[in-house]
């Protein structure tokens, strides 16, 4: 009985969380502009969605910025994590505090500070500034994904590589980087997700003509309800859901394979945590 009540409570919370999304999805097939009325099934909004050049071009921008910023942030962040891991004392603490700054700062503050910088430095707001801003807020998350992996490493691993004849550069590429690869991948995916999900920072650092999906949605939603957004939501939600299922099934399979497979699910939750750090 108690168990039943407990379960019902969770289902109620789930209903609260999923209901808006479900309604959005159902109404994306509704052949009527008005919300309350069901005008029959249609794919009209999907057709219109793909014909909407604003949405399509912002989708392209989102993907481009997401992929590029994630890759650059991962490279800088991974190198930085290795450097931080090997530094000590005040230097380390100072760098870590600066790293936490964009994570802890309200997004809007990061956003306006970058906007001021770009305008101040006379950089035209647009693709470039968007990219710079996204790399900036992504790097700390890459660092925070890679650092724990470095801490788990046997501290003699680097020395072992040198001992076996590698130069320091070889040791880095042939041993350290491969050993922390899971952390790097987590960081990359996290950076990509954060980038495509971002609204606030993009909103302030973009210029006329360049718009990400989030910005387009915002300007459409500000004008009220638009069934094309429903169609877009449905597609995005399905995409995310499929992605998560694939990732989880893959991890479950790896867990069965390897003996220390537990890392998989923990890593998953950790990256969720990290995502929450941001909204």
């Amino acid at each position: 009985m108690v168990r039943f009540l407990k379960r019902s409570y969770i289902y109620l919370v789930f209903a609260f969380l999923y209901m808006p999304i479900a309604v959005l999805m159902v109404y994306s097939f509704n052949d009527s502009r008005s919300r309350g009325v069901w005008g029959g099934f249609t794919l009209r909004w999907y057709v219109e969605l793909f014909q909407d050049r604003t949405i399509m071009s912002s989708l392209y921008s989102t993907m481009f910025i997401g992929v590029t910023s994630a890759i650059i942030a991962t490279i800088i962040g991974t190198l930085a994590a290795i450097g931080i891991h090997n530094s000590r004392g005040i230097q380390k603490r100072l760098i870590m505090n600066i790293t936490y700054l964009p994570v802890l700062n309200p997004e809007i503050v990061t956003a306006i500070s970058l906007m001021i910088l770009f305008v101040f430095a006379n950089v035209r707001l647009g693709y470039l500034t968007l990219l710079l801003a996204h790399i900036t807020f992504n790097i700390p998350y890459v660092i925070l994904s890679v650092l724990p992996k470095l801490r788990q490493l046997n501290k003699h691993l680097y020395e072992a590589a040198l001992d076996l004849g590698s130069t320091p550069v070889q040791a880095l590429w042939k041993v350290i980087i491969p050993e922390i690869m899971p952390g790097i991948i987590t960081g990359l995916l996290l950076a990509f997700t954060l980038s495509i999900d971002d609204f606030v920072i993009s909103f302030f650092t973009t210029g006329s003509g360049v718009s990400t999906l989030s910005i387009t949605i915002y300007s459409m939603a500000r004008r009220g309800i638009n069934p094309k957004i429903n169609a877009l939501s449905t597609i995005m939600f399905t995409f995310v859901l499929l992605l998560l299922i694939v990732v989880n099934v893959r991890q479950a399979r790896e867990e069965k394979k390897g003996r220390n497979g537990r890392h998989g699910s923990k890593k998953q939750i950790r990256s969720f945590d990290a995502k929450f750090g941001d909204a």
Binding site: L24, Y218, I229
Partner: protein
């Protein structure tokens, strides 16, 4: 060799984090003159005019209300999820997290459909011959949007702390004669405090600084501190005043984090992780 890998990052962070922060401070503490700018506290003085203090008050009030609601709903949910009511905990956790992967704006937008005058909820209510609910573009809608968006931030840290509590501790408390209510108040809740603290911080901070939720669900009639900043930068163009408000906001957040870490005791000073 390994230390030098820090260089790109240090340069990047100086350029894009440290310098911008100083620029914000510079704009906050100066006012433009004919020849350039001069140091002044005028921007801060302006913020303490009643009209802006009211905005600050409203922001704080809505953020506190949302945080309390999130806590009241979230703590029991975290407890149930950490307990043994479900056999497949990972799946439940995943289900809880999935909506969060949906774009933040779409999630907020979804409530427009539900709350509209002719929206789903009202159609339902009318068909049941109940009075309509007209909360869209009111404070309630803004709070609802905050709770909806930030609830998982409350639940997950609490869940992760609760699920790590050694079952032996709870059994020991029971063994020492505590009933389940006292086990909760004397053992479980105190042990879960670090999670509560990060949960509260993680809800309160974005709730205080949001401008999207208030703009979409408040219809622009409810200026919050975030909206005020947005307007200064994107509409009015008064960077000095906008920067000053940002500085006030950062101070507020540092203050609340300090209070939080005081409650948390000696645990961790930066407890978002």
């Amino acid at each position: 060799m390994k230390r030098s890998s820090l260089f790109p990052y240090v340069i990047w962070m100086t350029l894009f984090i440290v310098v911008p922060m100083f620029l914000v401070l510079y704009y906050a503490f100066t006012v433009p003159t004919d020849t350039g700018a001069t140091w002044s506290l005028e921007n801060f003085h302006r913020f303490f005019e009643p009209i802006y203090l009211r905005v600050l008050g409203r922001s704080l009030r809505l953020a506190v209300i949302s945080t309390v609601i999130c806590f009241v709903i979230g703590y029991p949910a975290a407890m149930v999820m950490a307990g043994n009511a479900f056999s497949r905990k990972n799946v439940i956790l995943l289900l809880f997290v999935v909506p969060m992967w949906m774009n933040f704006l779409l999630r907020t937008y979804a409530w427009l459909t539900l709350l509209e005058r002719n929206g789903v909820i009202n159609v339902l209510l009318t068909s049941l011959r109940l009075p309509r609910l007209n909360i869209l573009y009111t404070e309630s809608a803004v709070v609802l949007g905050m709770v909806y968006n930030f609830l998982p931030f409350m639940v997950l840290p609490i869940y992760s702390v609760l699920s790590k509590i050694d079952k032996g501790v709870i059994e020991a408390a029971g063994d020492l004669g505590a009933n389940s209510f006292r086990v909760f108040t004397k053992v479980v809740f105190p042990l879960s405090l670090p999670g509560v603290v990060s949960g509260v911080t993680m809800v309160f901070m974005p709730a205080l600084t949001t401008f999207v939720i208030s703009r979409l669900l408040g219809g622009g009639q409810f200026t919050l501190i975030g909206n005020l900043i947005e307007q200064q930068f994107l509409v009015v163009g008064d960077w000095g005043f906008g920067s000053a408000i940002s500085v006030v906001m950062i101070v507020l957040i540092l203050l609340s984090m300090a209070i939080m870490s005081f409650f948390e005791g000696e645990e961790k000073s930066v407890a978002l992780w």
